[in-house]
Symmetry: C2
Subunit: 287 residues, 2 copies
């Protein structure tokens, strides 16, 4: 297991962590100033400054991209399915322009939440079939751009409205079905927030192996959690044994960035510099 | 699958659903008046009126008890372990006095939340070992009273603070380990709120079979969920395909009560009669 205590060379910042403190250009500048070597930007943040300016800022700052957030939201009714497909192809094009290492997939829950305007459904099994088919279609396009797809299993609390792939096992089942040869074209993005509770987690990380482990995200689970989406914790402030999960992915050979992604009304309300300083400190002491 | 549309003879009311509207005696009286034939009372509600009065009220009203809530909270540090054991034995004694069909087990999360005062821990694997051992010990005592234990897997959102058994599979694994002969002494209480998201649900219900299916609870998952504990929905107001889950348990031979358990700041704020009237209507039309 890598020693993070002496520096933060393996810290990546998911830019949603500070999305209310500044635009992507300001975030890139702050990261460069603090010696943060990688980010994972969100599409809306890229769109807000324009793709070309985002590409230039990333290159000028010499930043790596540990991922691009996000593709997915595959579930839709018939009228919204081509919208989903075209949207995901644009995500691939943007990720390629930015030089991202993978596209993180948040696969979508029930259609009415995934693609607003879609007809109401309570059929989660049907949604899961759509996700399978949607990823298969996107994978063909992403392979041409040589952009790996990283399925992110989301906490079961998001099954209805954000992602109906809720366990590492389910995500890996999809990978195995769509890429039995393990070509590197598809894998998983594991965020401790979503998976820490899973009694099968350690076995599934071993099953994933190095070639399926495309991204590793950290934050913490707070007790109590006051908001189901936007009350995630800074590493060390909650109950997750983060280091044991990192040890497990690194035991498989994962050697990429440890990406900090915190959706938090609390941390969004603090100055950018305070957030980055705390991220760096916790990366060294807790992650 | 049973037809619920003509009456509510298979409706049971978990008394937490109206715990702010009146004491247990008032709830029993209201249920009797509305032709509700069964309840599942909570220990604090029984204690508030006294066990003897609770027993008399239940018998006078001719009510069945579809369960008794709750045993569990097995996770504790060394200083609090005997407290947990003794507390659970008292739960068995009370359930026997009340004539409950089973004791619902909420097994506990990390020790500091399960048994306040216990030392802080982030070791969820250790907590799960404690749960296994705690149930084993309680089972010996409960068998003497001929009281089945029903492990309730709770939604993964409660893994830290309420229960570290979060899937039907995990609950059944414990049942199989402690009762390989399937004697009827232990099984599961399945609440659609906790399990609806699970991609392995249908297979695990089939694995459970009639003898492990000790209780079936209903409510609904709202989008958005505003409070992770106390914003559960009235059946039909959320996204759960309740009928498909009931069909699956009944296909295994489950023929017991469909118990309504709703923790909801919204419904706790409404008159007792309105809540019961709505429960009966939704039981007939949605469950």
């Amino acid at each position: 297991m890598r020693d993070f205590s002496n520096d933060h060379r393996w810290l990546s910042l998911n830019t949603a962590t500070v999305r209310r403190q500044g635009d992507l250009l300001a975030i890139v500048e702050a990261c460069a100033r603090r010696g943060i070597r990688a980010i994972d930007p969100w599409r809306d943040q890229v769109a807000a400054v324009g793709l070309d300016r985002a590409v230039r800022a990333v290159k000028d700052a010499g930043l790596d991209l540990s991922g691009y957030c996000r593709g997915g939201m595959f579930t839709a009714d018939g009228a919204h399915r081509s919208e989903a497909r075209d949207d995901n192809r644009r995500a691939v094009d943007e990720a390629a322009a930015l030089g991202a290492s993978c596209i993180v997939l948040v696969v979508g829950g029930l259609p009415q939440y995934s693609r607003p305007g879609s007809a109401d459904s309570k059929d989660i099994a049907a949604a899961r079939h759509q996700v399978h088919d949607g990823i298969a279609e996107m994978l063909d396009y992403a392979k041409l751009a040589k952009l790996p797809l990283a399925i992110e299993p989301l906490h079961p609390a998001y099954a209805a409205d954000r992602a109906c792939v809720n366990t590492t096992k389910h995500a890996l089942d999809i990978c195995d079905a769509l890429d039995p040869g393990r070509t590197g074209a598809i894998g998983v993005a594991l965020d401790v927030y979503h998976i820490w509770w899973d009694p099968e987690l350690m076995g599934q990380i071993a099953r994933a192996g190095q070639d399926r482990l495309l991204a590793f995200h950290v934050c913490d689970w707070l007790v109590p959690t006051k908001d189901i989406l936007n009350d995630r914790g800074m590493m060390g402030d909650g109950v997750i044994d983060i280091r044991s999960v990192r040890a497990a992915v690194e035991a498989q050979g994962f050697a990429g960035y440890s990406e900090i992604e915190i959706f938090s009304n609390d941390w969004w309300g603090r100055p950018l510099d305070e957030v980055l300083r705390t991220c760096i400190e916790r990366h060294r002491t807790v992650v």
